[in-house]
Subunit: 167 residues, 8 copies
């Protein structure tokens, strides 16, 4: 199991780290690169065209502003591409969201929320679980842990009363 | 290979038909239903919880306005869920887009563009191709056909000259 | 008189506290819980379906981003549901507002302004006053106090002159 | 049981009719008026101040553009006020939505979606059911009918197949 | 020459102070009050209805969020009303702008930019100069001073060179 | 009493006609011109600089898209300038609204709603009534007529019942 | 003098025709092609990389939705690239505008208004006039013609009076 | 080679400095001024009308809010004008972007992203390279440096591993 995580700029690293962490937690190998659709267009092409032959099974691409990277990669590979719109000043990621999600008919990008790199990682895991059923159990465990955390918070709230409760 | 296509209202059918057509063209079995997250919440739950056991491998969910259906389904299954924001008056689908894509950490929905049901179908095919490599060839053929169409248009444009050319 | 206040995440607590304070000030019993429509969907269902039998008369639900909680609860109970869109980065609550207010025909959510949890509390009091007329007097007192504060500010402004006046 | 339905202009009638129909269907008496917060401000005040004494138990107010009517009425009565933002050119109701929902702390308006006058009617019924429990049964019946319609659509879809199905 | 400056809350004072300063600089008498369209509706009515008889010649009204104050006042007086949308979290004043500027046909509000209280003051001066021609000279002086400032900046820029220039 | 009505293009005429009609109804002389801030900049300058000497007392300027005309004129005259944002495809006037209302400190434009040329005319009348008190009576009559129309509609509604009432 | 006009789809032809007409009117040779950044990525690369060697001096690129074409081309050539955001349902070109104008530092695209293909043509002419001074005279003539048209409209307006004037 | 960089206010200097730096780096002479379209309209006219005779070959104009400066200049010269929308509170530059890019047919402004003054400088260089081919080599070098930086970042990432990598 191998996923490529690629981002348009090293300033996106802080956001994209969440996706990498999720993939590692699920035991998925992870190739990380910084590739700009605009500053390094040949690199982007080469990356996309050779991804499958390097054993990559799907690609997570994050970019901000006029975020072309996920779409450009998607046009050059048939691997599924997950797009992460990165929040950047001054439009807070709404430009990146529209630049990624509004792809023309024929070349889809699976878009997650603005800065939602953790969800990009989880979506990758769910996609891979189609082929690797062993991941399903792990996803269920992950979800149960999330539930337990909510239930604990409620218990804390009940015990402490709302006056002293602080998240 | 089996995909469920579900939509919040029968008025979404015209848009969601494109996804169904794509799936059929790629030889993928298709279960189609109309389920409202709000008018038929128990149906939505049952649908989502039993999808995997019915042999469904991924789900395409389309909804408009406060489009909760894709997220509600995603919270009740570990199958990948693709969300299609449906354009509806008066906000033209921007409400549906935000309601689908801005999911909280933990439960991702793979969102495509507003009314981009065709791309939802293609994204499903690309996801399934992780497991069913025979789909890869078909995707490449599909993409080549798209390219040929563009090349033909250019030839027509060159031959006719721009004055008489009409798409 | 009993109202349930529910929120999608403990990070919403700081905002939702205002609603709880208002309800307490008006002498209304208050059940507070943290329930995520997506991380704890079964909890949300159970909560909504059993609310009436637990003596709850109306529900205030706050959530951010793709804020499905109020709508999901509203679909599973006939109690009135008041929705509070929570401001969250990067879209400042406009996503939550649209996800809550743009409900499909059949299942309404009474939406208040972004982060307007105090108004949610007051709206709950006004709704309950339909059944419990003793609340009407209290609402009138509350409104009179608001008026008095404005009148005092004006007096201060008149006495001090605008040069030295600071709110 | 008596509800006032008020709208800013007779051009809003077509939208507000849905609320009136719902109220009649649930056997609730209905006072309908056209009152402009701006063209007939004294009328609006008198309407709001005397509503309770006329036996009105809650108010549904629809308005477009700089939609002040619901807020102006809410400031002059302690009855619950439901606001319906009316879609009008050129901003499609987003101006009315913000003008209604973003009320300042102290004076809430229970806002529904743009043009969602049917939901305003249903919300009124749910609020009244706090005091008049006989409405609860009717709401449940109404919801069951909605469910049945969805189930019928699915049957039709199953029988006809997606190729011939038309909503 | 007498102008009323009114604002919805004392938290608007910091912004509205600019208008007051401008009016004083131009030698115009200024009545300042804090009046909420929603918390003190009767005060707002009385203020608007008696403004002319108190010698007020025009009104500057500032408000945030669902900013109804300028429109409510405009509906109750035939004096010109200038509206100042106040920036407030989370929508940054876009809600106030639309609530003020999108008035229905019949009752205009002269709207200035978000937080542009200084321009509201200058607009008031320009309106008054219709009746009081002595103000024209002052406006021309004010504009000349603005021009001189820009010219000085350019000189500074020329002398210092762009490397050391800091505004 | 003389007002100039100027518009950026003859395609704005249909909208600006409302302002002209209002001015004529109030007996105000009206100079109408088509001047583009961009296609005829010298004309715009000359128009603005000589307006006062031609006896013009205030200017109504309508423009669409990057609507610079009102601001350009306002910078070249000390007469009050009323700006009318004209709705134009594809942004429906939101571009014109922001281009007109968001003027920098120093040069105000009194902005009305999108396409609200009728309100521009009425605002002009209200401004002129500062100097020409005879207009006050006419404004009051105009407002009374508006009220009467609303009252008539209500009577019609009462007599016909809501079932047959059509505006 | 040679300019390439390229568009993402033949459905953009109707809009892009205006740019072609302008170029022809100014006597500039024009190469027209349909190239999709996503459906024909290799074509886009080849086009951009060889443009200069084909004698192209600047490129006008139009695209809708997630409009990557202008940016992708700009990243592969040092010729100036003018981007035309094409209006397309449902977001009316605001997605295309942001996808084109919000380019990252290093690779600019000279963006014109939504559907403003005529202005793209004129901007190209103005850019070329840096090198080919003979174009300057033509631009001045073109601008004079625009002025004359406005002046004629004003004459017509003056002669006919506003009552009968129709653009 | 000479470019004029002009901005509406000295507070725009910090942003516009990037353009000036780029021009200097490419050896292009640079005339810097502060000119407000509204506070110094005659200066703006004179600047625009005489630019060509002063040897200016193109103009970069930055402005915020109702950003008229680039359009006003463009209407008075046939030199190419590049517009830089400056981010300013509270609308973050979206008002400036629309005020600059949505120019009417006939007078184009080459618009770059919000605050993208560096790209304005680079666009100027690319335009000038039409006439001064010696700039082409420099642009290629500049782009190669950008590529090298990205490649170095990737090497650092590979060597350090993602855990310790910090941009």
């Amino acid at each position: 199991m191998k996923v490529a995580v690629v981002m348009g700029s090293d300033s996106d690293f802080e956001v994209m780290e969440d996706a990498i962490e999720v993939l590692r937690d699920f035991g998925i190998e992870c190739e990380v690169s910084i590739i700009s659709a605009h500053r390094t267009p040949e690199l982007a092409m080469e990356f996309a065209k050779t991804a499958e032959s390097r054993g990559i099974e799907l690609i997570i691409a994050g970019a901000g502003c006029a975020a072309h990277l996920p779409g450009v990669i998607a046009s050059l590979t048939t691997l599924p591409v997950i797009g992460v719109p990165i929040k950047a000043k001054p439009l807070k990621g709404i430009d990146a969201l529209l630049s990624i999600v509004q792809m023309p008919p024929g070349i889809p990008v699976a878009t997650v929320g603005i800065n939602a790199s953790k969800n990009a990682g989880l979506l990758a895991v769910q996609m891979l679980s189609l082929k690797y059923p062993e991941l399903k159990e792990k996803i269920k465990n992950f979800r149960n842990e999330m539930k337990e955390k909510v239930i604990k918070k409620n218990k804390k709230l009940e015990e402490e009363g709302f006056k002293t409760f602080r998240s």
